[in-house]
């Protein structure tokens, strides 16, 4: 129990130290704020717009389980339900 708590503490401390090193470090850089801003905007666009509206996981969204997904692919590969004419 104590060992687990100590390990957890060490992990937490390490995590906090790394986090604070990042925050202090970027804050002290002259261009740190601009870089943070770019990273934040980029990630917001990628996950908040792109992933959400344009990049759903097709198989997970349209088929309930693994069996249904494998059946779908089996159908796609064997029924000529494809869009390859010349392979390109």
């Amino acid at each position: 129990m104590n060992i687990t708590t100590n390990t957890e503490l060490i992990i937490m401390n390490t995590f906090m130290n790394i986090t604070s090193m990042y925050i202090e470090g970027f804050a002290s850089m002259r261009l740190g704020r601009r870089l943070w801003l770019i990273i934040a905007i980029k990630l917001a666009l990628m996950f908040g717009v792109m992933k959400l509206f344009f990049f759903p996981d097709y198989l997970h969204q349209n088929f309930a389980d693994e069996e249904a997904r494998s059946l779908h692919l089996l159908e796609t590969l064997t029924q000529g339900n494809n869009h390859a004419t010349d392979g390109h």
Binding site: I18, M21, Y22, E24, G25, F26, S28, M29, R30, L31, R34, L35, I38, I39, K42, L43, L45, M46, V49, M50, K51, F54, F55, P56, D57, Y58, L59, H60, E66, R69, S70, L73, L74, E75, T76, L77, T78, N81, N82, H83, A84, T85, D86, G87, H88
Partner: protein, 509 residues
């Protein structure tokens, strides 16, 4: 309907190409500059000369800008796998997922942890630990690249797996075969080599600009010394790894090699076109000459592809139509086997639906010997195995020519280093060579990816089958969104980078 489907595949392909090419504008500088910074810091720790510390911190700041702007741009390709390439993603199973997962874990734990120490730990940890962190960031970045290239190498040369018709997925049989596939290793070495050259060109180019401006002369010269030395070594290494890559292509993707050389009719003791212009009217099987103009190196293609000056190198026509005398199977025969594989999978599906275990086993037994040709079953004609020859040929020759130019440039810079500020033309050449490194690297990717068409997975799945049947309009919209996003990021990077460079070595970090 057919036109619409073709449009969808083309937009999906264009979108992936755009994201991959843009992503690879950021990655190589990270790979190369991380090692150069580690070398500079090693010199600082060894000499205790504070000037080296200032130099290290300057280049480290530029590394940080590139890292911050480029980080996570590769995730977009993973989005695309799930949306645009769901057939492919399912079909490859955990073989593609495993290396990418290892890469993700490595990137997060190794790079992000030591990245913080490297940038922000200057006065918080010992010199030795800081240096170790800098080297670990470099090694970590390169290890990340390794796993990505293992995944890509598997697409070019699928090994270490077996196909399970029940799940319609490939399952990993040997992790080592996948991770240490000769194609993956050659691809890794050649790709990181190109990143190192880009890093070196960046350092010598910026240093040259400083020298031309008469700014921070001692620091610029020292940077130039490290950049040019590193550049010369890695550009020679790049030539060697390129030789190995070409050998692997000859063994496993001979159609790509033939396209790289615009080589239509096979022969023993085949030559390499050093400089040439393709005949745009040349068609498979006609009697027209493939080249309008060429300067060739006799026997070089046989040597490059087979390490034997007299070896027979198959041309596109041998590979498409077959060459019995040389024991080369034509694509028509492979298409027949591919159709048999698809038919066996269809029989498996019917047996599975009716719950007939014996028929399932029978279909599985039919499938196994021809599974290696599965992708051919979707091709309409033997000619479909030929990639766009002109793009592959010119990209390859641009890459090779620039590769040799870089060797000469780095050698000249080192030779003239003691009095380098007097050689203005050489300094200008170094400055204007920065974009050439990117052009060479992107050309290399075009050779690798366009040259392997029509395959998403070599011989197993053509690109047209790998794509998801979704609305082409959505793909088109997201293509343009990416184009705008990446272009804005690139402009931001260049502007921030130029501003930081203009501040100079002592301009603050």
């Amino acid at each position: 309907m057919q036109l619409m489907a073709t449009e969808l595949v083309d937009w999906s392909r264009a979108q992936f190409a755009l994201t991959a090419l843009y992503h690879f504008l950021f990655v190589p500088l990270t790979l190369g500059l991380s090692f150069i910074v580690a070398i500079m810091e090693s010199i600082y720790v060894k000499t205790r000369d504070e000037r080296w510390k200032t130099i290290t911190r300057f280049w480290m700041t530029l590394f940080a800008i590139n890292f911050a702007i480029g980080v996570a741009t590769g995730l977009i390709m993973e989005f695309e796998f799930g949306t645009n390439w769901s057939n492919y993603s399912w079909f490859v199973g955990d073989i593609f997922g495993a290396p990418l997962a290892i890469e993700g874990i490595l990137a997060f734990f190794m790079e992000s942890t030591f990245f913080a120490v490297m940038f922000f730990g200057w006065n918080k940890v010992s010199k030795g630990f800081h240096l170790l962190s800098t080297w670990l960031v470099a090694v970590g970045s390169n290890l990340s690249a390794f796993w990505i290239l293992v995944a890509n190498g598997w697409m070019q040369y699928p090994v270490g797996m077996s196909f399970n018709p029940d799940t319609v997925r490939h399952e990993m049989v040997s992790f080592l075969d996948v991770a240490l596939s000769p194609v993956a290793v050659a691809k890794f070495l050649h790709t990181i080599g190109s990143g190192y050259v880009i890093g070196a060109l960046f350092v010598v180019g910026i240093s040259a600009w400083m020298l031309l401006r008469g700014r921070d002369l001692i620091e610029a010269k020292r940077s130039m010394a490290v950049g040019a030395s590193f550049g010369l070594v890695v550009s020679l290494f790049l030539a060697l790894s390129g030789d190995e890559s070409a050998y692997q292509v000859a063994q496993h993707q001979p159609v790509k090699l033939a396209a790289m050389e615009g080589f239509y009719k096979g022969k023993s003791g085949a030559e390499i076109v050093a400089v040439g212009i393709l005949n745009p009217d040349k068609q498979l099987g006609d009697t027209a000459h493939a080249m309008e103009f060429e300067l060739s190196m006799p026997y070089a293609l046989s040597l490059l592809g087979y390490h034997d000056a007299d070896a027979f190198v198959p041309g596109l026509e041998d590979l498409v139509y077959g060459n019995e005398a040389q024991g080369i199977e034509g694509a028509a025969s492979k298409i027949e086997k591919g159709k048999e594989a698809v038919s066996a999978l269809e029989a498996f599906k019917a047996a599975k639906k009716s719950g007939d275990a014996a028929a399932m086993e029978e279909a599985r037994a039919r499938l196994e010997p021809v599974m290696g040709y599965f992708g051919y079953g979707f091709l309409e004609s033997p000619e479909a195995i030929v990639p766009p020859v002109a793009i592959t040929f010119y990209s390859f020759h641009v890459m090779v020519a620039l590769g040799f130019y870089f060797i000469v440039l780095f050698a000249l810079l080192l030779w003239r280093l003691p009095q380098i500020e007097r050689y203005q033309t050489l300094l200008k050449a170094a400055l204007f060579s920065i974009p050439l490194g990117y052009i060479a690297a992107e050309a290399g990717w075009i050779v690798a990816e366009v040259g392997r068409q029509p395959w998403a997975i070599q011989d197993l799945m053509p690109v047209g089958i790998a794509a998801t049947q979704i609305d082409a309009g959505n793909v088109m919209v997201s293509f343009w969104l990416f184009a705008v996003l990446f272009t804005v990021l690139l402009i931001a990077e260049i502007k921030i980078m130029l501003r930081q460079i203009a501040l100079g070595i002592y301009g603050g970090h």
